[in-house]
Each structure stands twice: as structure tokens, then as C-alpha cells.
Symmetry: C2
Amino acid sequence: MFQKILIAEDMDFINSGIRAELAKLEIKEIDYTQYCDEALLKLKSARLNNAPFDLLISDLSFNKDHTAQKINSGEELIKAVRKEFPDLKIVIFSVEDKMYRIQTLCNEDKINAYVWKSRDGMRELKKALQKIHNSNEFYISPNVAGALSQNEAVEIAEYDIFLLNCLAKGYSQEEISAALKNKNYSPTSMSSVEKRLKSLKEYFNANNVVHLVSISKDLGLI
Amino acid sequence: MFQKILIAEDMDFINSGIRAELAKLEIKEIDYTQYCDEALLKLKSARLNNAPFDLLISDLSFNKDHTAQKINSGEELIKAVRKEFPDLKIVIFSVEDKMYRIQTLCNEDKINAYVWKSRDGMRELKKALQKIHNSNEFYISPNVAGALSQNEAVEIAEYDIFLLNCLAKGYSQEEISAALKNKNYSPTSMSSVEKRLKSLKEYFNANNVVHLVSISKDLGLI
DNA sequence: AAAAACCTTACGGGTTTCCGTAAGGTCTGC
DNA sequence: GCAGACCTTACGGAAACCCGTAAGGTTTTT
């Protein structure tokens, strides 16, 4: 089994749960942190001391608190870790079930397992550790596996996210056009905004822009 | 301290964490369940056996699974428990920070503590147990205490929630009027819908209906 | 180099929403 | 019983959005 595991999880009651259960698996060393910056530091420090971690288990959302952080989310942490440790095995343990975010993590950040924080999340976490330790197979919780089996990934550009965010904030199309100019996006005309919104509505099968924004919130795009 | 505690929490990894930490507090008996129906049954059964629980710690959201339930949420569980056990101390331990839902629980369901599942959630859970055991004082996590200190609670009628849900589903105002007639709400004219939406926008300080729906989702109204 | 394809923008017309006003009905207070 | 307040609805005009078409510029393909 894994010998040295780092847990990056901001909630103390979840940290306790994971540590209590993993302790039963005869894992020699289990360390943990509630902060992303400290997680990266611990990984680096361990490598320098010739006693590297062989697994990182990380949450995705880290609530802000008084401690200023350079790395503000699990996604940022995973990117930073993957850059620095290309071969380290990484398990995401998250409540997130939004298709868009899971796809990005699996396809771009090359995580080794995605475990959904469901009722049987701990049981699945253990299964995932078993599976990825012995092989290079990828593990994903059955309930969210559908996020990856879609024929087409949701490919929404940063431009579109910006549009949707402007809509959600109550901007008119004229104001959206002005905001696009402000941020040096291209194109910026109102006609472009109209056309892009029309195609987004078609893509998501939305009846109108209210529906579009509602769907986007449900999908976790904004 | 409390002698016999029931934990109603659907996630196994959180159950583990809470039990592990509470075991350190010399609480004689800690039972748990992942299902609402079973929670109510356990409370009733214990009373019948003359060995009642003196505390219930419950989550709010319980994901559905294959096991059919009559009670489908923490809110429903709390209502049912409060009806049957008026004096039982109840602590909510939840990730929920939406003002609207917290207000309803505290004002209507008379819970004894609301502990937000934050980074220090476990530490706060312990503080809450200390506080409510010794007295009838109410405990709420500092971070979400603001939800109760608002001068006016958010008082949105069922009619308004219906309106907002229709909007989020992409209905036009004409379609909303028809849906209101269908459900025997009153009033139902398009003019009434216009006027009610106008006043909701004013109430929430929304620029337009897209903004209104976005705010409503953020507040947890829909 | 030229043609074709694609992108951006403007524009006009239709539809929906927004907003205020007015009329009629109901409820409340005197 | 009546006046005043409030609610519901209709309506008209303005504003915003929706949609297709057309023109000009840029990129790609031949």
C-alpha cells in the first residue's frame, strides 16, 4: 500500500474522518494540512529530505480565512503540484459533481482518481487507493462517471464565461458590450453579444437568457 | 456532558470524523445513521426502551440513494423530530450558509445550535455541545451568525418562489401566467406577474430578471 | 493571386419585457 | 352605508431583446 500520504482538506471534521479510516489501512505515515500553500510546501520539503510523499489526497474547494494564500483552490493546487511532481499520484476527494469541472481535472490535470464525497465516499476512497496503487488505472466514482462519458466535453471559452457572469450580474447587452471593450475581449459589438448568446442558448437548449444563466449556475460554469 | 448522542449524517467519511472526535469527549454512547427515517425510528425506539437519546446532531442535505425514504431532508427530519420530541436538544451540523434556510430552522424549528461545516467545524461542534449542555443558550457559528442578525428576515411567499422557479426554467411571462392558473395560485394575470417581478427586483436590488434569478440561486431560494 | 469561408458589425423589424396609468372589485375602518 | 385603501387586471408606449440579412474585413484554401 501507499507508504506516505498527504491530505489537503480544509475541514477539520473531514480531516479527522479520513485520517481515522486510513490509519486502519496500515499506512505508515499520514500527514495533513488545511492550506493549499502548505500542501505544496510539505511536498517539496519531503522531497528535499529524501522522504517524498507517494500520494496526495486533495479537496477542491478551500474556504478563505485569515491566512493569506497564494494558491486559492484545489484546482490551482493540482496544477501547481502536477507541474512540480509529474509522477505523483493524486486523488481528488470532493463534493463537486459539476460535469465541467470534473472534465477539466481529468483531461487536463491528469489526476489518478476522482472520488465523489457521497454517502459511501470513504468506502470509495479506499477502493480508489487500492486500485491506483497497484496500477495506472484511473478511478472515478460511479455516480459521476457520466461526466466523462459525454460524447463531447463542454467546451466553453473564457469569453463565454465572462458573458454569462455579466448576465448573472444584471448587465444589459449594451453594458456587456462595454465591459468586453473594457477587458479587451474580441469581438465586442452588441451584435456579437446577441449572436453568441443565441448560440449558447442553442448549445444548452435554453429557452431564454434567464434559463441560460440558471443552467450555467447548475453546471457550475459561473 | 451528554450521555447518549445520535448522529444523522449521510456521508460515511463525516460520520467517521464526528464519531472519532466525540469519542474523545467521554460520551458514553454514540449511535449514528445515514438515513432520516432510521434516525426517527432510533429516537422512538430508544424512548420506548427507557434509554432515550439526549442529543441529535443532524446534517441538512441527505442525498437520495436506492433506499426509499419517507423523510427526504434534514429539514423534514427536524420538523418531525421536534413534533415528537419537543425537549430533545438538536444541533444542526451543515455546509449550508444560505441565510433563508438558517433563519427558518432557528426561528421555526427551535434548534439548539447551528454549526457551520467550516474549517473549524469540529472545534465549533465541540464548543456548541459544551454550551448547550450546560444551559438553554443558543449556539450559532460566528461566520453565519449574520444570517440571524438581519433586521428583517427574508420573507418570500410560496407564490414568489414559484415565480422564480418558472423564470429559472425559461418560462416567458405569458407562460408563467398560464402556470399560475394551472396551479390555482392567485393572482394569475400577466400584469400581476409583471408587478410582482418588479417588486421582487426592488426588494433584492436586482437590475433585471436575470440578475434576480441569479441572486435567488445564490440565496438558496431556488 | 484569387476565391471561398468565416468573423464582426450594423441595421431593421418583430417580440417580449418594463413601466406607469386607469378602471373595477374587494376589504377595512369609521 | 360609505369612503378610503388595496388588489387585480388591462392597456399603451418605451426599452430591451431576438432574429435574420447584408456589408466589409480577415483568414484560409486552392
